[in-house]
Symmetry: C2
Subunit: 343 residues, 2 copies
DNA sequence: GTTAGCACTCTCTACGCGCGAGTGCTAACG
DNA sequence: CGTTAGCACTCGCGCGTAGAGAGTGCTAAC
């Protein structure tokens, strides 16, 4: 694509800006008189024509104002959106909200989702911080009934998985503890693969338990997303683009699907920590998200545990603010995760 | 309220039935010709007038058909809705879907929510099975960093709570295990109150740990609902009564609120297992739910762990089907919980 | 008690009209 | 050659009107 002139860029930026505010097609005349440009509406019209031919703007109807296309938003975000940052008092507010949370990961996630939804007026997603690969840390077996035990598996990073276990023969708590200790000693610091190998080397009950543990670890590995917190659903439902019933339906259905979340999270995990990724209009990958955009970022301590945060809203989204919001919250979450690792 | 004649009841039932199907006010004439009643439309009109004066029907406009009032729905559900049951093949389908789940509580809950949403075309809620009072079962302390530990608290019934713990002085795993064993020995089978008392009797680090444990247990006690799974959001958004944007907003916001869920779940936990509760139009308690109904049931093993399942949809809801659906799913969940207790 | 008939009410849809916003084009200007 | 004023044209939107259709309440007859 050929580069735009400076004036064309200004106009594109203004159209995007205005449309994001008003949700209505913006015309040449209103633009001129609202921003006191030094040119006439006719000139603006000519430039708009050029932008329309370049595929950055479009007209909903023959004689309506202009609306940015997806391509237009992309150009805007990539080239025209300067490095924005949250105003200091908004930062203070958010950080204040965060630091009164109880020190539990779910609490942080719930809070991050709530804060993001509130400050971005969009739908927020927060996935649990997870290690790239599950690494065995500790096993505990707790007797519940004569021939039943609760298996509690702690992974490196603090992830806890549990499963009920039916035993052929009754075992008391002492025997179970002994068994758990044996398994822990052998498996500590192993990956799923390693645990499975160990299971092959030993026999009897401990082999069975190890196989179970390996299964749980494989499960943890396959789920990139794990638990996902959402918030701010009503925010997006209030947007005028979803006024007609059914218009938001496909997208909302998609947002409930675990497979989609996996997809999004793994995508968000690509870039380095600190980088924010903007996906506009489904980007070809998800047709249901034609009118939606996502702002995603990774957080956590790389190599130990990372997760994704992001907001989802209409393409007509205040990108600057959303991006700085997501970046800031990702930063806070990273701090919390790192702190909890460092002690 | 005076009793209705048999014919009036028939007409009320038909109006409810028709309106649930079509979502449009039902008139006397269409009723007669559709159901081949042995009377004329004028007669039906007279009866409808009586029902309107009794507060069971109302007219949206002076010359429109009749629509059931909340009171009308209540009468219908209480007196006219015979004991319905799911057709055998639907039962088989649901039970089949259930029995291929992995044996984990979250899995069951997710599944129950999904099944209910699918079969009732409404929004479903499933709360985790929880004991009425948290009872201490087992404590484990796992070293993560030199002066940090992960506290894993197992409650009777298999509920697991965890929290990170920062230590003043470094302790290795052996010391931590010893400490955990001490605490476990003293606190086993105690309620939150009991653990707090024990904390007062002992001193040093174990007292600190016990106080923490008591805090977690109190937390568990206060949260009647705990984790709640939802599904089928798009089902209700597709309903014609929520066509205007914003009409569903209040209710959806309410459905996200933990406080509300607590309220609903504690209400659902009132009746005996097997009983299904129908809340029509918010029942005065929740004004946001004026156009909504809920069908709730309790499940689990009383005395050990119980939770709530239910569906939420427009007042214009196929009550018969929803009720049998909820009852059946609650039954299945009860079986699963009981099985997992009995081993 | 039931029914046929009738006048009435009210919603919904279509249609026509004018307004206003916005456009593209053309010709004139610096 | 870029810019601008002017103008004819298009289209969506709001509004009032008219007619169809559905449904009602009332009355009088069976």
């Amino acid at each position: 694509m050929q580069d735009l002139t400076e004036r064309q860029e200004t106009i594109l930026a203004l159209v995007v800006h205005e449309y994001i505010e008003s949700a209505e097609p913006v015309g040449s005349k209103s633009l001129v008189q609202r921003f006191l440009l030094g040119v006439s509406s006719a000139t603006v019209r000519n430039e708009m024509l050029a932008l329309t031919e370049a595929g950055l703007l479009r007209q909903p109807h023959t004689s309506a104002g202009r609306v940015p296309t997806e391509e237009g938003y992309r150009y805007f975000v990539r080239r025209l959106l300067g490095d924005t940052d949250l105003p200091p008092d908004e930062k203070r507010l958010i950080s204040h909200q965060f630091h009164q949370a109880r020190p539990q990961v779910e609490e942080w996630m719930r809070l991050a989702a709530s804060v993001l939804a509130q400050h971005s007026s969009a739908l927020s997603l927060v996935s649990a911080p997870r290690p790239e690969r599950a690494v065995f840390k500790h096993l505990e077996l707790i007797s519940t009934r004569p021939n039943q035990a609760l298996l509690v598996l702690v992974l490196q990073g603090g992830d806890v998985r549990q499963q009920l276990l039916t035993l052929q023969e009754g075992m008391d708590q002492d025997h179970l503890s002994l068994l758990a200790d044996q398994v822990t000693r052998v498996c500590v610091a192993q990956t799923a693969q390693g645990v499975r190998t160990q299971a092959g080397l030993s026999g009897g009950l401990s082999s069975v338990v190890m196989r179970l543990v390996a299964g749980l670890m494989v499960q943890a590995d396959t789920l990139a997303a794990g638990e996902v917190f959402r918030d701010g659903l009503t925010n997006v439902l209030a947007q005028p683009e979803f006024a007609e019933p059914g218009s938001a339906q496909d997208a909302l259905r998609l947002l409930q699907e675990q497979a989609f979340l996996e997809d999004v999270v793994s995508r968000a995990l690509q870039p380095a920590i600190g980088g924010v990724q903007v996906v506009i209009g489904g980007e070809g990958a998800w047709s249901e998200l034609r009118n939606w955009s996502m702002v995603l970022a990774r957080y956590g301590a790389p190599g130990f545990a990372t997760g994704a945060v992001g907001v989802v809203g209409p393409t007509r989204m205040p990108y600057g603010h959303s991006i700085s919001c997501v970046r800031y919250v990702a930063g806070l979450m990273s701090e919390l995760v790192t702190e909890s690792l460092a002690g």
